[in-house]
Amino acid sequence: MSDLDAFRAETRKWLEANCPPAMRKPAVTEADACWGGRNFKFQSKDQETWMRRMAERGWTVPTWPKEYGGGGLTKDEAAVLKQEMRRIGAREPLVSFGIWMLGPALLKYGNEAQKHEHLPRIARGEIRWCQGYSEPGAGSDLASLRTKGEDGGDHYVVTGQKVWTSYADEADMIFALVRTEPDAPKHEGISFLLIDMEWDGVSTKPIKLISGKSPFCETFFDGVKVPKANVVGKPGEGWSIAKYLLTHERTNIVSVDSGAFAGGDPKRVALKHVGAGDDGRLADGVLRADIARFEIDALGFFATLERVKAEADTGQGVGARASTLKYVGSELNKRRHELVMSASGADGLLWEGPEETDGMAARNWLRSRANSIEGGTTEVQLNIISKRVLGLPDA
């Protein structure tokens, strides 16, 4: 038996013994997931047990080094763990911006003190992070951001406004892009700061989405004192870190729940609402064709995700190819929800009601529209692919 086979057998046994049955089905909404944080309320004892058991092994962040709370697994071992979790339908024990975005950036750019302070807390779900990039005047043109950090000796005094900050009202800390070198060129004057949301001068105001939910906020900084020890990398190096982090964010936006179609599998929804004809096939031939074309692209997408990850050099991330994944994956997810809505017919329009039909389809559909905006819009991804992957010239 190869080492990997032995690892698989061991992992399978451990998961069987330790994953509570209630955690062996996909999280359907964002609220079903365990996000961690100082104020997080577990939905159930099982949710808490599952997260803690996995965190103890470092398996909330399987590939991070053990000294930072990770599992220290190789890429191949991590893939086995994922397969074995999928085999029993186990959901992710913990999801967070710390895992998807900040962690990888800290591993690459953070100093030892920062890694030891922040990574284990992310791994154990103790601190929940949010992302302070976008501003009212800086969206796609992110580098034009104006939130400023004035030099106060051993600290910066941060003043300005962020917007669309997902879960800012529930997060404990924010990683923010702040202009600390006002005289430097646009891309070279930005620093990457770690700020506690409880510090004086930080406040948030929720914004309601078209889905009726309010997962994001305006975030205000009013003379917030941020120690210089909380600068990741060097002052002025924030843009490189921000971009590196974005490639992780982009790959993650589209790889969450790979292939499981949580929140609506078009063919299942269609068979339920439209039904099958005498030949046993979905009774609406045009809808069937549309769903089949979607499934072909979905198979192609998940296969590409697997391939790009396999081809990426360990630790180097996937680079500009993250933009291809982000573009294809987010457009695909929008298409999936459009199909679920269409397959549901007027049932899909329901906004309130019994559990299964309380607007889930409609709210998920509406939420999915953001996929091609958040983390850089579809148009921005196409720009990046054109220039960085295909080498087409700037205007």
């Binding site: 063919k267 269609a270 068979l271 099958a276 096939r281 979905l282 069937r288 064709a289 769903i291 089949a292 074309r293 499934e295 072909i296 692209d297 198979l299 192609g300 997408f301 296969a303 590409t304 697997e306 391939r307 396999a310 081809e311 291809t324 573009y327 294809v328 148009e379 991804q381 196409l382 720009n383 692919i385 054109s386 220039k387 992957v389 295909l390 080498g391 087409l392 010239p393 700037d394 205007a395």
Partner: protein, 373 residues
């Protein structure tokens, strides 16, 4: 499953690319067309491919092949797609080879597989009878006659079928599917070659009460269906790889042109309207590459999801191959429409390779069926 090629596979890929780029660039297809070559392919190239061992890529070593499996055949197909190599590779080395390997008796395998591998004879699979791919629609039928059979029917659109020395024919026997090995020269058998839009030939095979001895029956019933399916799936995956190779090559040419052609005082590749279309096409080709590889690897692994991957791959490769060539024509502008320029050959081949063994619509429907809706 890994997307990584083994060392042997990588060597095969490199050798195929190098050999075919040198021996059979697109100008070769043009030459064959312009001189109205009756074969539509070069016999010399065919011998060269045999010498490289490629015609035996799907033939087990015990029968004189190299047994590189579907991934190997796909790598050769992809390289063939890159310069639009015309040859009976698909019909003989893929479709007929797999049909005989999976559906033939030991005697058939011993007699015919070595000849496929050596290129000594050309074989073809005669499955379709309709203009649109529909291998389940079989009107051809065989009746028992003493120890043998009499076979009648019309098999259509057999790629390079005019050059085949023998055919694997699907026909009904006692109400079930059966596969027969039929010599092209058998009395009552005739082929009718037609030049196609892609400057290659396909033939219709008319079987008029062809008398066969008992040994011509390869298999029948479930065994025949399985062998036929295996051949068709392998052919579909290989055509997907070919379409990928052709699609990527057309795209590379388009990208070069976008970086060089000037209008309005700048290169046209600076226009965002074109950049985004190029980026979209790139993404479609990425999906195609992943799916083609998944399909080929699933065939080699023999996993039950292989038909699903083959359907997805052929559907995507057909659509993306067509898109790549049609976007090429559009972005080249007027020159893209000229015969003098190669891109038209890619557009035409994409249509033909897309149609053979089922286009994107055929396979979308099949995928739905496989997935239970």
């Amino acid at each position: 499953m890994s997307f990584k090629l083994s060392e042997e596979q990588a060597m095969l890929r490199d050798a195929a690319r190098e050999f075919l780029a040198e021996k059979s660039p697109v100008s070769e297809l043009r030459r064959l067309r312009d001189e109205k070559n009756p074969d539509g392919f070069s016999r010399q190239l065919w011998s060269g491919m045999a010498e490289m061992g490629w015609l035996g890529v799907l033939v087990p070593e015990e029968h004189g092949g190299i047994g590189f499996g579907a991934v190997g055949a796909g790598l050769i197909s992809e390289a063939m797609g890159r310069s639009l190599v015309a040859s009976p590779f698909l019909s003989s080395a893929v479709l007929a080879a797999v049909a005989i390997r999976e559906g033939g008796t030991d005697a058939h395998k011993a007699e015919h597989l070595p000849k496929i591998a050596s290129g000594e004879r050309i074989y073809a699979l005669a499955a379709d009878e309709r203009p649109r791919h529909d291998p389940a629609a079989i009107d051809a039928s065989a009746v028992r006659d003493g120890n043998g059979f009499r076979l009648s029917g019309v098999k259509r659109h057999i790629p390079e079928g005019h050059a085949a020395d023998a055919f694997v024919v699907s026909a009904m026997l006692d109400g079930e599917v059966a596969l027969f090995l039929v010599e092209a020269k058998a009395e009552g058998a005739s082929t009718d070659a037609r030049a196609l839009v892609d400057s290659r030939y396909a033939a219709d095979l008319t079987l008029n009460d062809v008398k066969l001895d008992g040994g011509a029956l390869m298999s029948s019933g479930e065994a025949a269906q399985k062998a036929l399916d295996a051949a068709l799936e392998t052919g579909r995956a290989c055509l997907s790889a070919e379409l990928l190779g052709a699609g990527e090559t057309a795209f590379d040419a388009t990208l070069d042109y976008l970086k060089q052609r000037q209008q309005f005082g700048r290169v046209i590749g600076t226009f965002q309207g074109l950049q985004h279309r190029a980026a979209h096409l790139h993404s479609e080709l990425e999906l195609t590459r992943s799916l083609a590889f998944k399909a080929l690897a699933a065939l080699d692994a023999g996993t039950p999801d292989a038909p699903m991957w083959c359907a997805a791959a052929k559907a995507k490769a057909t659509a993306a191959g067509r898109l790549s060539a049609s976007e090429a024509i559009q972005m080249f502008g007027g020159v893209g429409m000229t015969d003098e320029f190669d891109i038209g050959f890619f557009y035409k081949r994409a249509q033909a390779a897309g149609e053979f063994l089922g286009d994107d619509r055929f396979h979308a429907d099949r995928l739905a069926k496989i997935n239970g809706y």
